[in-house]
């Protein structure tokens, strides 16, 4: 099956491996990720101000494109997922934002949140199925792995509807599917320090170290994430505590897919 795919800025540059491994693995699992045309950067953070319209338009353009190309939009980077999914919710439920955004875009047919935004992990779970992945695994990952969710996939849970915001299980289920042993640790849904690292490097340092030492204390040998910024913060501040990887890298390893 084919599915419209939004890669986002970082996956085109610093996080190429996340993008490439994800595409190859999807192909191996029978899913074609079709990159949408003329996508623009989503802005990387969801603008919460109720009068923010222009900052949401690139997400709406991508959503509208996907609406006419299969009705689903696949994301991989957690930040893109957060921005696009929350913007989509605005288009669905906030008449004012919807009206004003459509005024800007002048689409042939107004966009009203019709597209379904799904994250790559949700694709693995609901489209491919973890059981199918289990069968496709050639190199089981026999390691203890801590899932790092961070904030963007989970919160706000009312909109993201990704998993239980305090006790998520999807990445743990994924780890089990590729033959690993998930390690549940209390800081897996705590913030890594996010964009603040550009202005105040001390705060992300403390937060990232707390995350990784919590994972280590509970027995993890490595930590996986779906977010390039989380990966950067965790590696830059706690790379010596535990190795941090993209979850797709482990998927590729398990499936025997080489980039």
């Amino acid at each position: 099956m084919k599915i419209s795919y939004y890669p986002g800025c970082t996956l085109r540059t610093k996080a190429k491996e996340l993008d490439v491994t994800a595409r190859l693995c999807a192909e191996a699992l029978g899913v074609q990720m079709e990159e949408i045309e003329n996508w623009q950067c989503c802005g990387a953070v969801y603008p919460m101000g109720t009068d923010e319209i222009a900052t949401k338009l690139s997400a709406v353009r991508a959503l509208d494109y996907a609406k006419h190309n299969g009705g689903k939009l696949l994301t991989l980077c957690s930040a893109c997922h957060n921005v696009i999914k929350r913007t989509n919710e605005d288009m669905k439920t906030n008449a004012d934002i919807c009206f004003r955004a459509n005024n800007y875009l002048k689409l042939d047919e107004p966009y009203k949140g019709e597209t379904e935004v799904i994250h790559y992990l949700e694709m693995l779970k609901n489209v491919v199925g973890f059981d199918a992945i289990k069968k496709a695994v050639v190199n089981p990952i026999n390691r203890k792995i801590g899932a790092y969710y961070g904030c963007l996939l989970l919160r706000p849970s009312g909109v993201m509807a990704f998993d239980n915001p305090e006790n998520p299980t999807i990445i743990e289920d994924f780890i089990r599917a590729i033959g690993g042993t998930p390690v549940v640790y209390p800081f897996r849904n705590e913030c890594c320090g996010a964009y603040v690292s550009l202005k105040n490097s001390e705060l992300p340092k403390q937060k990232s170290m707390k995350v990784l030492s919590s994972a280590k204390e509970k027995g993890a040998e490595e930590v996986i994430t779906a977010c390039p910024l989380c990966l950067y913060n965790l590696q830059a501040n706690g790379g010596d505590i535990l190795p941090v990887k993209y979850f797709t890298e482990l998927l590729a390893e398990a499936l025997g897919v080489k980039a």
Binding site: P186, F187, S214
Partner: protein, 663 residues
């Protein structure tokens, strides 16, 4: 031909000072249908009433209008007077010329003119009045109490002591309810079992009380004074009449891994069990999902050892049907599930427990024999942290929007009990507000702080997590504007309470209304707090709203008083101003039944003559006058105009409108 008599009251000067009463009486004399018109200083006095009675007899009146004070004052008085003179009491109408006229107007002409119109309006109505007779329905002198917790027990005892038969239907194997699980009770710290179990025994020994344990209400028909209730007696696989409660079966049962519900699943029990030592009835019950014999066919050990032959693996649910005059709902509560509160780590950490679990851990008959030990490793906790308002006052959708009311007091109780028993244990309490209104309640809480040195921290906990085997409780200390993390050994969540979920089914069966939080609605929040809007149904305990034991007991006794007041009557007089359908117009569409808050409307198939010897069976609405409260909601919703309300018929109201408009 109508013969109306009109009586204008002066009410001393209350009316006469602003309304020219003589003129009103004079003008009204010429109204069509009026044969007698008089005015008098005090119509409500003995002489005034005599005047009415005399006129009814002398002038053969068919209707009476009294221009006087509000009908809410003296309608009943004048109706009674009319009845004594042989006129149907519902042929009397009141024109309110005091509260609605003389008292609010200053200009005599204006007030007099209005009084004439109000009297005319009443005349227009009374002309269309029809004699009504209050119906009577018999009262079955037996009460049903649903739920055998402290609320049900108290209500049953009070009703039975007044000499009426009471049945307690309890869904569990024993009565006692939540209170039986508690260790001590606030604000006196007396042992819960010590004050509850004697009452349980009283119930069992009372000749007027029949305890139907392990039973559920299956169906309810009928109405106030005459409910017919079908009760399911669940199979307990033990003959209740034979079992002596010797417990040898419990000892011998090889399947001992069942979770002990009474101990909040903190330890295990055999497949055949008596919930706790003081259970009433003291009779075993088999959990068929756990029993080896019932799952595999092999075993039967309990049967072999039972000296009285009480074990019956083939037992089936049975049904009984009984009649009751009144029903008390006392279905109680349960703590909410904590699935939406994973930030407190309840699911992941054995040492994060609910307050009810702590009750069992502190109780001498509990899993640790009353020694406070951590569930994870059986160690004595040195730092115990309480979190209040877990799931209460939560409008985010995760919890309950209401205050659970009992948590502040029981948390203070727990904190004090721990400090009393284990002075070396540090106790912290995170709170949003401490709410302790009630006699000796605030004093009780302050004692926890001042005498027992419990550390109260104003602020809420954001996260509980496990680090190096310690429970880290991270939260706000708002007074000092800081974020703190308390390294704890045991975390106790003061979990919100919600009505026992089975109340929904009970409410549906009883057509008792329920609010958005599943609490049963009382008839009036202030003045009728123990009565359900459904006549003959009364509410006791937490099923009506969060409350503690003293309040529950008061409400239960209040219920009992109401029930006794009902059961002492041999017959019930019913309000005759009820809805009634014109069956020729009714098309059986069910709209009226849908809006009826009382379930007073049902449908019957009725044969109608079509002429030419043909008949037709049609479904038509039928109003039970004993249940109808006379609100009239159905009359407006009826699309064919078949439904009308006696005493406030559409024609009557239309004629009032006409009389007012015709100035």
């Amino acid at each position: 031909m109508q013969r109306i008599g009109v009586f204008i009251c002066w009410c001393g000067s209350n009316i006469a000072a602003t309304v020219d009463v003589e003129k009103v009486a004079e003008v009204i004399k010429s109204e069509p249908g009026v044969v007698y018109s008089a005015n008098y200083q005090y119509m409500c006095s003995e002489n005034g009433q005599q005047l009415i009675k005399q006129a009814i007899k002398e002038h053969n009146l068919t209707g009476v209008v009294v221009g006087a004070c509000s009908p809410r004052m003296h309608e009943a008085t004048f109706r009674k007077a009319a009845e004594e003179a042989g006129l149907n009491p519902y042929m009397v109408e009141i024109a309110n010329i005091r509260e609605h006229c003389s008292w609010i107007h200053k200009d005599m002409d204006e007030a007099t003119e209005k009084a004439v119109i109000l009297v005319r309006t009443a005349i227009a109505k009374v002309k269309l009045n029809a004699p009504l007779t209050a119906g009577e329905s018999p009262v079955v002198k037996r009460a049903l109490v649903i739920g055998g917790g402290i609320a049900g027990i108290q209500a049953a005892l009070d009703i039975a002591d007044a000499g009426f038969e009471v049945d307690i239907v309890e869904k569990n194997a024993t009565i006692g309810g939540r209170m039986a699980q508690l260790d001590k009770t606030f604000p006196t710290l007396d042992c819960s079992a010590c004050i509850l179990t004697p009452k349980m025994v009283d119930c069992a020994q009372h000749e007027k009380i029949d305890i139907l344990s392990y039973s559920e209400v299956e169906d309810v028909k009928g109405f106030v004074g005459n409910f017919s209730v079908k009760i399911r007696r669940k199979a307990r696989f033990v003959d209740e009449t034979k079992c002596t409660g010797c417990k040898i079966c419990m000892e011998k049962c090889p399947s001992k891994k069942g979770l002990n519900e009474f101990n909040m699943n903190l330890n295990t029990r055999p497949a055949i069990y008596i919930p706790f030592a003081q259970a009433i009835p003291n009779v075993a019950v088999i959990d068929p999902t756990q029993c080896i014999k019932m799952k595999t066919g092999k075993c039967g050990i309990c049967q072999k050892f039972c000296g009285v032959g009480a074990i019956d693996y083939e037992q089936k649910d049975t049904f009984i049907e009984r009649q009751y005059g009144a029903i008390v709902v006392a279905t109680g509560f349960k703590p909410i599930a904590l699935d939406n509160f994973n930030e407190y780590g309840y699911a992941d950490n054995k040492d994060v427990i609910t307050s009810l679990e702590l009750e069992r851990l502190m109780n001498a008959a509990g899993p640790t024999n009353g020694v406070l030990l951590r569930p994870s490793d059986g160690e004595h906790p040195k730092v115990v942290t309480f979190i209040q308002c877990v799931g209460s006052r939560d409008t985010s959708g995760c919890g309950k929007p209401y205050c659970s009311k009992i948590c502040c007091m029981y948390t203070a109780k727990h904190a004090m009990m721990i400090r009393e028993k284990y002075p070396d244990t540090e106790v912290h309490v995170f709170y949003i507000d401490v709410r302790t209104p009630g006699k000796n309640y605030d004093e009780f809480y302050r004692r926890a702080v001042e005498q027992y040195g419990v550390d109260y921290i104003k602020g809420m906990v954001g996260k509980v997590y496990n680090e190096n085997g310690k429970l880290m409780v991270q939260g706000s200390n708002l007074i000092d504007n800081e974020q703190i993390t308390i390294e704890s050994d045991l975390v106790v969540l003061a979990t919100a309470i919600e009505p026992e979920p089975s109340v929904r089914k009970v409410a549906t069966l009883l057509t008792a209304s329920i609010d958005t939080n599943n609490f049963l609605t009382e008839s009036h929040a202030k003045l009728r707090p123990v009565e359900s809007p459904t006549a003959g149904v009364y509410l006791a305990g937490v099923c009506q709203g969060p409350k503690d034991i003293p309040e529950t007991v008061s409400q239960a006794s209040a219920c009992a008083a109401k029930v006794i007041g009902l059961l002492v009557k041999d017959k019930l007089k019913t309000n005759p101003c009820v809805a009634s359908p014109d069956e020729n117009m009714c098309n059986g569409c069910s709209q009226c039944a849908n809006v009826c808050a009382y379930g007073a409307i049902t449908y019957i198939d009725k044969e109608f003559r079509l002429g030419g010897g043909k008949t037709e069976i049609r479904r038509v609405a039928s109003v039970n006058p004993a249940v109808c409260q006379g609100c009239g909601a159905c009359t407006v919703t009826c699309p064919s105009g078949a439904m009308d309300l006696k005493g406030f018929s559409s024609k009557q109201i239309m004629s009032e409108v006409e009389a007012i408009c015709k100035m």
